[in-house]
Subunit: 152 residues, 2 copies
Amino acid sequence: MDDAQHQYVDKVATFFTLFGSARAWAEILGWLMICEPAERTQAEIAEDLGLSAGTVSTQLRAHVQLGMVEQVRVRGDRTQRYRLRPGAWYAVMASELERIRALGDLARAGDGVLPRDRPERVTELGDLADFFAREWPPLMERMTAELEKGSA
Amino acid sequence: MDDAQHQYVDKVATFFTLFGSARAWAEILGWLMICEPAERTQAEIAEDLGLSAGTVSTQLRAHVQLGMVEQVRVRGDRTQRYRLRPGAWYAVMASELERIRALGDLARAGDGVLPRDRPERVTELGDLADFFAREWPPLMERMTAELEKGSA
DNA sequence: GCACGTTTTCAGTATTGCCTGAAGTCAATG
DNA sequence: CATTGACTTCAGGCAATACTGAAAACGTGC
């Protein structure tokens, strides 16, 4: 890992740390975006970034569960390899629909305590969630179309 | 604050805490959604939620800076009052455009270290940000139209 | 089924960031 | 100009979380 690479990993790490991510999680993400080859073992990542094996194991699993990273098996090699999943960023955006729905549920859970004074404080959130729940699927379709075009 | 209200505040707090918000920040938000009257002083909020004056001051300021909460001056009363801003949720969504742009910048900052192996690991993020930067404004317009309709 | 490297787990440690309480600042009022 | 109350700031305590290191578990290839 040269200086420029190190700097970029740091930039990515700083960015996501601002939104509450763990430093190691973000560093792994940044590194998997630019490392060569794209496929790497846990031991390599630990060595490259100066992290312990335990940390890499834990944070890598988090990435896999989020759908950002996937495992690659190489025949004849017992070592697992990991790489940034193609379309990883798109997948994250697509999964946003679940969070939108959760927000809507949160608003509806407020029905029992709707304030007489300016009840729209609660209903507004529900309306917003409904709006996005409606708009998101077609938006994701346009996004996918864009993706196809770019990779074609 | 009755039991049902307390329960709702807790639900809101739990939700946002999952995404890394400070507990006090989230409790204040939940309470400002349902309290009556909608306008409240710092001292009242502290009393209602069992928080210290310092915490309320700090977290309330965070809400104001994010545009979720606004201050209301009452003539002849030296005490400042705070309330959830009408259209607060919409404003937050509208400001999302800035974060989209920041993501795009992060991707473009990777140009200097573009991997020869699967460079789309970096460019994909940039394309995604560009897509959303394009789609967001018209989406926000549709959202605003919806808002007018609902409040009319 | 054995042996070996890989991966996971977990107890302990370090670090981070929240919250409190008290002291300080400011503004309005008489 | 002094007094009063509201608000802010900040050092310190504390709780939550991330990270490490080592040991246990796993699973692959022989």
